[in-house]
Amino acid sequence: MIPLSHYLILSFIIFTIGIAGVLLRRNIIIVLMSLELIFNSINISLVAFSHFLQSMTGRLFVVFTITVAAAEVAVGLAILVAVYRQRKTVYVEELNEMKH
């Protein structure tokens, strides 16, 4: 039997890596991948809680978060393509037309 804390710590490590990717990387595709890492880490802790609490709610929640994440990444990449057509760049720092 693996204790709950192992799953939670694993989930937290991947979550932190995802946050670091979002905050540190300039390439928006990598930023979107890091967001997927965040959602995956959350799914781990949801299923872990669900398993240890012996309830189904968390597992059902994961079905919804997977769907939402897929929809979000589809829209995100569509917006990215639209941005690329306008600006020919995918770097966060080069998107600053509105500073003033």
Partner: protein
Amino acid sequence: MELIFFYIFAIFAVSSAIAVISLRNPVHSAVFLMVCFLQVAAIFILLRSPFLAAVQVFVYVGAVMVLFLFAVMVLDLGKERFGEHLHHQSPIAIIIIIGLVFVMGLGLAKAKLDAPIGKYTEAAMAKNTEVMGELLYTKYVFPFEVVSLLLLIALIGAIVLVMKERN
């Protein structure tokens, strides 16, 4: 025995996640992201959720991954210029991350599972997929309908945003 498997999956998951955010070539990142997704699916099996593991493989590895690779290929990004792949504001980001680790560590250290335990014991979970299907179409029908609308919106949005102008 399970613990050994857990450590194998966890080590692979963490190291591939680190690879995703540190590699310069987006294609390599995408491949490591796929490795990470597969490890997460394996962890779902350790948590007695075979249905979620299958969904994870289908949706993430099958659909999301293809979308990412497709975007990388279409945009033809190639490697990032050497030495320029970090933000200028990285000190702030590092402070945020340290703060997060501190708060979460403090919380987790004091935590203990004391919520009421539900009725789905390991024996009842033998029919995991059936139970999930039933709940999805009865108790959780409201969010189910909402996500179906959400998927429709994502479809419309992708068409609206990407389709070239008609004359």
